[in-house]
């Protein structure tokens, strides 16, 4: 006779046995983290997206790296020297550097990697424009020969954020810069090894400790120093829903969230098992970008009027809310960094609607509606455009705010059509501070017309300042150039910085050792 009870017991027993036999191996030292995005692309040179940069820091290493104090320090490089005429730079690699497949890292690999990076990165392009070429001296030594002295060689090779000049094997680095590298070529010499067989886009990406990695002897600082890995395995799980991310952290299913939403921070702060850690004290900068080719923003005076009309605090309160996570900062190269200065900024960003109105009248603004694109699906950006609209309208602008998802905005911002026919006048975005530390690195300062980023500002004076800055090798003189540039730029803006903000990491209390760095890195972290 059929017995439900017996059958149920048998089923439970069978399932239990199956579970015991098939249980996944326990990884005692596994960190499970939810990053700000899923890793869909594995090539950090092919795209400038930050998640690929973070992935890059796991797998690949860099010749130089920026420390916590914004100084560039050697990383893969053991020693380097520059000739007295500052035209020849000689780099020698550290002993014992190895790719994950066991082959030695060579000077040829590094030269090929720099060439591929420079084909994609604006700072790399600028450096290579002043370069004559490379010379491989021996397996560990190569030279970079310049046509003229160039002041940003080390800053370029130690660039901390997208695109980072990661060193790859020559075979990989010879991939067409416009094509992605293959999955099987994700082989670096960095502190973690990418597990290709466990990579499931949309689900997780897995890295294991590179046991053969030889960290530098110096203590870790920022992205420089000894990259000592203290866990066996790191899993980046992708949980798209922020509420679910928080639930998973509270439940102990994950160890950290790279970028929890600001509205959820109070919930996390109240949880006694969780702490918030600001690993990037220079944070991010909100930016209002003009389309300098579209009337009336082709007139610098009209752009200056917007600069005069804006007040940062309103933007920051509307988006971030809690003052502990934002900072009013007029310095376009970010407060707290070596080139931070308020030079030329006294008359702007004060919310002076009356003066802005007067400037608009002088500029002959004819009431053309400003097409302001608002992205609605990224919480950290959504409230910026309504604030901009209100402050511009107070100054006398007519504003046509058009709402759309971020990817639609991304598609539309590259269009040069007139704003009334599918183009645009302005939008707001955000930069990681590490991307905008000087006028060559900061993409929105590029004013080289069609070669500039979307917005396409065309300003020979700004370009002259950028060239002077790049070729100047004395840091004091570089700072003076930045001040002069800034004074000019305040009246001829290519964009407007509308405030600095911070996004802490939320982590379980048993996670310690996160680095203070512009990118979230996983060396030095312990799990107790």
């Amino acid at each position: 006779m059929f017995s439900f009870k017996k059958s149920a017991l048998a089923l439970v027993a069978a399932a239990g046995a199956t579970a015991l036999l098939t249980a996944a191996p326990v990884h005692a030292q596994t960190i499970k983290a939810v990053m700000h995005s899923d890793v869909k692309i594995l090539d950090p040179i092919w795209t400038t997206a930050y998640i690929q940069r973070n992935h890059g820091y796991m797998v690949w290493d860099t010749l130089f790296a920026m420390d916590e104090k914004f100084d560039v320090k050697p990383q893969m490089v053991d020693k380097w020297e520059v000739s007295p005429d500052k035209l020849v730079w000689t780099f020698t690699l550290r002993d014992g550097l190895e790719w994950h497949d066991g082959k030695p890292v060579t000077a040829e690999d590094c030269v090929a990697s720099i060439k591929r990076w420079a084909a994609r990165d604006s700072m790399g392009q600028k450096m290579m424009a002043s370069a004559e070429g490379f010379e491989v001296v021996d397996a560990k030594t190569f030279k970079l020969k310049m046509k003229e002295p160039y002041g940003l060689v080390l800053q370029s090779l130690g660039k901390p954020s997208s695109n980072v000049p990661f060193m790859m094997p020559k075979k990989t680095a010879e991939t067409d810069p416009m094509q992605q590298i293959k999955v099987e070529d994700v082989i670096g010499s960095g502190p973690f090894i990418f597990k290709a067989d466990e990579w499931k886009p949309g689900e997780k990406i897995v890295y294991v400790k590179n046991a053969k990695y030889k960290p530098r002897a110096e203590p870790p600082s920022g992205l420089a120093g000894g990259k000592v890995v203290k866990v066996d395995r790191v899993e980046w799980l992708w949980i798209p829903d922020v509420q679910t991310q928080v639930g998973a952290l509270q439940n102990g299913e994950i160890d950290m969230i790279e970028s929890p939403g600001h509205d959820l921070l109070p919930i996390l702060a109240k949880d006694k098992n969780i702490n918030l850690f600001n690993g990037n004290p220079t944070g991010n900068q909100y930016t209002f970008r003009f389309n300098s080719t579209a009337k009336p923003f082709d007139n610098p005076k009209v752009r200056h009027a917007v600069f005069v009309a804006f007040a940062q605090e309103d933007f920051l309160k509307a988006t971030i809310g809690d003052p502990q996570w934002f900072k009013v900062c007029k310095a376009p190269f970010v407060c707290g960094t070596p080139l931070a200065t308020d030079a030329g900024m006294a008359d702007v960003l004060n919310g002076n609607a009356a003066k802005a109105k007067q400037l608009l009248t002088e500029a002959g603004y004819d009431g053309t509606p400003i097409v302001l694109m608002q992205s609605t699906d990224l919480q950290v950006l959504t409230n910026l455009a309504p604030v901009a609209k209100q402050q511009m309208e107070r100054a006398g602008f007519k504003v046509d705010m058009q709402s759309m998802d971020w990817q639609t905005l991304v598609g539309r911002r590259v269009k040069k059509d007139p704003p009334s026919q599918g183009g645009w006048h302005a939008f707001l975005t955000s930069w990681v501070a590490a991307d905008i530390l000087n006028p060559v690195m900061a993409g929105f300062f590029n004013a080289s017309c069609d070669k500039a980023m979307f917005g396409w500002p065309c300003d020979a004076t700004i370009e002259k300042f950028r060239d002077q800055f790049a070729k100047e090798t004395d840091p004091a003189k570089q700072k003076q150039i930045v001040e002069d540039l800034q004074k000019y730029w305040a009246n001829n803006p290519t964009h407007i910085n509308v405030g600095q903000w911070y996004s802490p990491i939320a982590r379980r209390n048993n996670i310690e050792g996160n680095m203070i760095a512009p990118a979230p890195v996983f060396w030095n972290i312990t799990k107790k």
Binding site: A24, K200, T244, G247, A248, N251, E253, Q407, G411, K451
Partner: protein, 313 residues
Amino acid sequence: MLDFIARRLISIIPVLAVVAIFVFLMLRLTPGDPAAVIAGDNATSDQIADIREKLGLNEPIWTQFAIWIGDILQGKFGESYFFKKTVAELIAQRVEPTLALALCTLVFAVCISVPIGVMAAYRQGSLFDRVVMGFSVLGFSVPGFVIGYCLIYIFAIELGWLPVQGYVRIGVNFWQFAERMVLPSLTLSVGFVALISRITRASVLEVLNEDYIRTARAKGLSNRVVLMRHALRNAAVPILTVIGLGIAILMGGAVVTESVFGLPGLGRLTVEAVLSRDFPTIQTVILLFSVVYVVINLLIDISYTLFDPRIRY
């Protein structure tokens, strides 16, 4: 019967052709540029133009369509713009969670809704009937993600009985698979239970007034036999129809439920592909959903013959 099945399968072709044209045109005519998405925030216009060229997005729209259809007819579904994997591989990776979620939801929904629908009909007007009908209205009205968050808060965070999110493949660890399926399936089945229980109640009520039911009762058959053998079997056709139509609701619901519970299924793949304008993936997934929908409805039609001998194809 075979003739009917063959005709129905042939009828899939024009359906898929219309879906293919519609999806292709919709993606090309809506705003958004996959090349700009791929290039990242710091890319220059030249870099974006280069990527567009490499992806073949500069070709005329009809050329792009012809290439895509040609590939589909050869069984090639293309390569995702982002994942550097073929779309077929991506779908194969994502199909298990969605299939598991759909099956668990169907089982939950049918096991709960059919008995309570039958009981509500049998006890028409009683407190039980009113409670069931009240809850079914609630089930329709509350959005799935709200139910999901409530279940997570109660059963995962407060009680700690079940995990908040994630998916473990059934072959890796059955218990971890099962415990991760409970909350998503319950969430997705709420609306389904509401729908099926109402239809079951209405269908059974209609049948209970038939002469043959009165005859069965007059013969002295027990209530259980009358309800299960005579009433429910005769009421099955509309219930099956609703279950078939409900597959579409289930597909839509899976998109939300998979996002809330972090299940790496086809629903989430669709959302990710739409948000990143991954044209080859969106096109193929929607075509796949269309095929599944048509085939399931065909199976439902065939199953009518099991419950109603009068139906012949």
